[in-house]
Symmetry: C2
Subunit: 136 residues, 2 copies
Amino acid sequence: MAIKTPYVAVDGIVQLFDEKDNFQGIVLIERKNPPLGLAIPGGFVDIGETVEDAVKREMKEEISLDVEIVRILGVYSDPKRDPRFHTVSVVFICKAYGMPKASSDAKEVKIFKLEEIPFDKLVFDHEKILKDFINR
Amino acid sequence: MAIKTPYVAVDGIVQLFDEKDNFQGIVLIERKNPPLGLAIPGGFVDIGETVEDAVKREMKEEISLDVEIVRILGVYSDPKRDPRFHTVSVVFICKAYGMPKASSDAKEVKIFKLEEIPFDKLVFDHEKILKDFINR
């Protein structure tokens, strides 16, 4: 049986809080690999791991934070959302404390207040995802 | 770049209504192919289609109904949920009118009131999914 389906990825909208539980902003990355630009951190799901484990692993790898999952925002699957190939992304709303640090596919991490997100710099369909998040 | 991710599937919890909008029950199928047993209708997502289009196509193919999507119930991705291989399923709550008819992978369709679902006959993790649906 030859089954061909899109790739599965996860992305994490990480809401960063300080130790007094004050919202600091959300964490975005400057991508190191094409497509270059600003992005929600995320990556592919490995065979053998759950989507929840995948998003926690990717947040640890890319922005060096241990995140808590709040809930799923949505599943984004437009065949054209990734210019490279068809990728279905499960997008999680997460919560984290501490200071993010760039690694893996992230060249730099940036923290944005919701009203300061530079939507025109976002890659993939991340502008739509973040607007869905803000208007949820 | 060799990317390997789990397969992506969709399943539809189809709430069936009569023409007066009275809830009739949810539609389950008796599977024609292994694993045999009772299941929520569903199938793999094709490359090039959205998960929303996939669940509408699968409901049409398996139970001959045009469904309306209500919302996503959840994403089920336990590596052991499918005994054949790792499949991530996006589960949609749907709504439909009319009479379901079995085709494709469905040997028979059955309509169950929520309190009459025979949970012990369900394959995959569909018992858990339907309990999550009932307790949502």
